[in-house]
């Protein structure tokens, strides 16, 4: 048997849209095979065809050299395929064991299964306690439950859909250990991702899709991250480099900000201090859920801050709302796109009006100048390469990357003196990420101050010259990235104190 699974000329179209065009590939047994591509490249469609939840229009598949044409995921599972979805399907009020057994056909809860669960969890380093209630587990642990559930069926091919998008860096490396062990024991893994670094780390083979077509089969370890990215997006990436950094006066400072969270499971903030200067990019790194959301609310002005704590160009802005802050040339891009930074069921031009400082001339005594709005929307669309049919498209119809470019662009065309942006490239494809990073650098070069809150350490390292780390509502002192910053930073990330 040369291939575990072989695809021959698979085609699938929805109306005039060709989601998969003539895709031929082979997945070797006991290998980790990556399916790499941007959002909308056709990865999901292809996987659904393999897993039987969609049927191809033409083309054939072979499973262990035999014809394979599943009509439902049930048939696929019978053959020995299993899939871990991006969104888990676990009952929070049930225990791990109950959840796992519910997913199996026709078995009841008995000690044999608990033993088996424990066996798998030991064998593959999937650290979970079978008796624990799922609701109490972290996201990473939930994913491990899903993996064990798949392993109970003793699959020959395990499909993982964007498995790391919800994990912390530590959880990611644990997952990789598990995946490697699985492959060593003969389980083939199909790994779907758009994260290039990961694919380079653990995959033996990679298939790159773009626009529904197969672009290349290659060994990802033989190509640089950049080469892979360029194959994936089909164009050259711009070289990101901060040149002529000119740091000026203080623009914005947070002085000893402490605030109890008003939410039930919120994080309290303790004594946060930070300064951003003209022309500089300051980053706040840290794993999600350590107070970033609460801090962002206060920075945007969605919640009021105590007196004397938020100082922008010498002015106390703690009591101003977001609109009043924008008048002073302070702009924001929140993390969440739909429902926060943009309204899902409103058109792009209407969404422009969320951020409408007086100088933009979009409104005059509250009367909307639609001509001006249209002009600025067009400018955002062209300057920031937002892929959309027109300014009249609903925000929800744009892909994540395009909406993100729109949201960043909407703030950037106002030439902010200070831009505060949370997770600027979260869930965004490589091309858009590159574009957004480039425009942030350009803004800083023009002398604006930028504060980036990001979980993505690579991003923070590429862009910022000073980085803080946030853990459990506390902010570390600034780490200068020029002199050996990375080392200090990783110490802070794992919870240790900086030595100086």
């Amino acid at each position: 048997m040369k291939y575990q699974l072989e695809l021959q000329n698979i085609c699938k179209s929805y109306g005039s849209l060709k989601a998969n065009e003539d895709i031929t590939l082979g997945i070797k047994p006991a290998s980790i095979h990556a399916l790499l591509g941007e959002n909308g490249a056709g990865k999901s469609t292809l996987v659904k065809i393999i897993y039987g939840s969609l049927q191809s229009n033409s083309g054939t598949m072979k499973w262990c050299d035999q014809d394979y044409k599943p009509n439902s995921p049930f048939e696929a599972r019978e053959k020995g395929l299993a899939m871990v979805f991006q969104h888990f399907s676990l009952f929070e009020s049930l225990t791990v064991a109950e959840n796992i057994i519910l997913g199996l056909d026709g078995v009841g809860l008995d000690s044999d299964y608990i033993e088996q669960i424990t066996k798998y969890s030991k064998q593959y380093g999937l650290n979970v306690n079978a008796q624990q209630v799922v609701g109490d587990l972290s996201v990473g642990a939930r994913q491990r439950v899903e993996i064990i559930r798949c392993l109970m069926q003793e699959p020959k091919l395990l499909i993982m859909d964007e498995p790391t998008s919800v994990l912390t860096p530590q959880e990611v490396s644990d997952l990789f250990i598990t995946l490697r062990k699985l492959a060593e024991n003969g389980c083939t893994i199909l790994y779907i991702s758009h994260k290039l670094e990961e694919v380079r780390q653990i995959c033996h083979q990679a298939t790159i899709l773009r626009g529904g077509k197969l672009i290349q089969n290659c060994n990802p370890q033989e190509h640089s991250k950049r080469e892979l990215a360029e194959m994936m997006i089909g164009k050259k990436l711009i070289n990101l480099a901060r040149s002529n950094i000119k740091i000026g006066e203080d623009v914005f400072s947070i002085n000893n900000l402490s605030k109890k969270s008003e939410e039930m499971f919120g994080v309290d903030l303790y004594d946060i201090c930070l300064t951003v200067k003209e022309g500089s990019i300051v980053g706040i790194a840290g794993v999600a859920g350590n107070g970033q959301d609460e801090l962002m609310h206060l920075l945007i002005g969605e919640k009021k801050s105590p007196e004397g704590v938020l100082i922008f160009k010498g002015k106390d802005i703690g009591k101003l709302n977001s609109h009043q802050r924008r008048q002073l040339s302070m702009f924001f891009t929140p993390e969440e796109r739909l429902g926060h930074g943009a309204v899902a069921d409103m058109k792009l031009d209407e969404n422009m009006l969320l951020s409408r400082p007086q100088k933009s001339e979009m409104t005059n005594y509250g009367v909307i100048n639609w001509q001006q709005v249209e002009m600025l929307t067009q400018r955002v669309i062209t300057d920031f390469d937002v892929q959309t049919q027109s300014s009249k498209m609903l925000a929800q119809s744009l892909s994540g990357g395009n909406l993100q470019k729109f949201m960043v662009g909407r703030e950037l065309i106002q030439n902010p003196d200070l831009l505060i942006v949370a997770q600027p490239t979260w869930g965004v494809d490589a091309g858009s990420e590159n574009h957004i990073h480039q425009s942030l650098i350009t803004l800083a070069e023009q002398g604006s101050a930028i504060l980036i809150i990001s979980q993505d350490l690579d991003e923070v390292l590429t862009l910022c010259e000073q980085v803080h780390v946030i853990t459990a509502g506390k902010l570390s002192p600034a780490v200068d990235m020029q002199d050996n910053g990375l080392e200090k930073l990783s110490q802070l990330m794992v919870g240790g104190k900086s030595n100086d």
Binding site: E302, H340, L353, S397
Partner: protein, 355 residues
């Protein structure tokens, strides 16, 4: 297999077609009811749909009934867009009639052009104040405004009774529970000689224009819309959530109050216990039939007024029970909501013989 699939974009064609389809289905269903009641279908159809559109009396009465519906529905549409559910316009309508009417009775027999504006002002304040109770409870204590406004309606009905049995009762009225009949200066000008059609209809049309301007061209309309569909985005845009709730309730309450006064100082001519006839509730249907669009409300208020007229005619000519009007309005709303699904969704037929 019949599947209902989400459209990628709302269908412009269906926005126009949905109400027409709903009307047709309602007409067919009423015909079935007529058949069932063994009536002459063509005649019943004429009585119900066509007769209200003939003659000076019928047409003018159409305007009389459309005016309060339009005014209330315009106010409600603003609140509904913001996701603020004022269900008790009927109560604000009553309080508006009482407060405006009381001013008229206080200046009884004073001949002055300022009296009607003053009464209108009092009515708006009354309606606003009454809706303001719900706004206060919602913003301060997170009390659901649906329950508060709805329950306050019953309080208002009893308050009206208390008033016309007590302080506002006509001293020369042989103890009948009604106020004095408003004198000429406290009565709305008639716009069509020889009928009851009053200036309230013109004013309602003006409000429709203003509401249209606000929703299309003014930031306040955007504030309402954004607050309704994405509260967090509204905060991001710098809008205060509590203020939006206050505005929504004050505007809808004020307009309902004004409509109440116009009814009392217009066709009814005095304060009586049976002043509330359900316009405040029916206006909810009017607003939704128009998909909360201000110009649409002009048409749907006329359409619903037509069902009132048709229902009355049916009672008199065909001896049908008075609930026929409600059956009718309910059916219209039901079909309309069903047809509205087609705007955002499409029906796909797929035949999969392999299963």
């Amino acid at each position: 297999m019949i599947n209902i699939e989400q459209r990628t974009d709302s269908s412009a064609k269906m926005v126009i077609l949905a109400p027409i389809l709903a009307l047709t289905l309602t007409a067919i269903s009423t015909m079935i009811i007529f058949l069932w009641a063994s009536l002459d279908v063509m005649n019943a159809f004429y009585v119900f749909y066509i007769e209200p559109l003939t003659g000076k009396y019928n047409l003018s009465e159409l305007l009389v009934k459309a005016a309060p519906l339009m005014m209330i529905a315009l106010g409600l549409s603003i609140g509904f867009r913001a996701g603020v559910w004022n269900i008790g316009a009927e109560g604000q309508y009553i309080i508006g009639a009482i407060s405006g009417g009381a001013v008229g009775l206080y200046y009884y027999n004073v001949e002055a052009t300022w009296l009607i504006p003053l009464m209108a002002f009092a009515a708006v304040l009354g309606g606003m104040g009454y809706a303001g109770i719900a706004a206060f409870l919602r913003t301060r204590f997170q009390v659901n405004e649906i329950l508060v406004t709805l329950m306050l309606t019953y309080v208002a009905i009893l308050f009206l009774s208390a008033m016309v049995f007590g302080p506002l009762r006509n001293p020369d009225g042989f103890n009948f529970p009604e106020s004095r009949i408003f004198h000429d200066s406290a009565t709305l000008p008639i716009i069509w000689q020889g009928t009851r059609a009053h200036i309230g209809f013109i004013i309602a049309l003006l409000f429709a224009g203003v509401t249209w301007f606000i929703t299309k061209k003014h930031m306040f309309g955007m504030q309402i819309k954004i607050s309704g569909s994405a509260p967090r985005a509204a905060r991001f845009a710098g809008f205060n959530e509590n203020k939006t709730i206050w505005y929504a309730l004050l505007i809808s309450g004020g307009l309902a109050g004004l409509a109440g006064l116009f009814e009392a100082a217009g066709p009814v001519g005095q304060l009586v216990p049976h002043l509330p006839v359900g316009y405040g509730f029916t206006a909810i249907i009017v607003a939704f039939l128009a998909r909360l669009h201000p110009i649409g409300i002009v048409f749907t208020s006329l359409l619903i007024a037509l069902t009132y007229m048709g229902g009355e005619n049916a009672q008199i000519t065909l001896q049908l029970p008075s609930s026929i009007t409600s059956v009718f309005q309910g059916m219209l709303l039901f079909y309309f909501l069903a047809c509205n699904v087609l705007i955002e969704h499409k029906v796909a037929f797929s035949f999969n013989w392999s299963k």
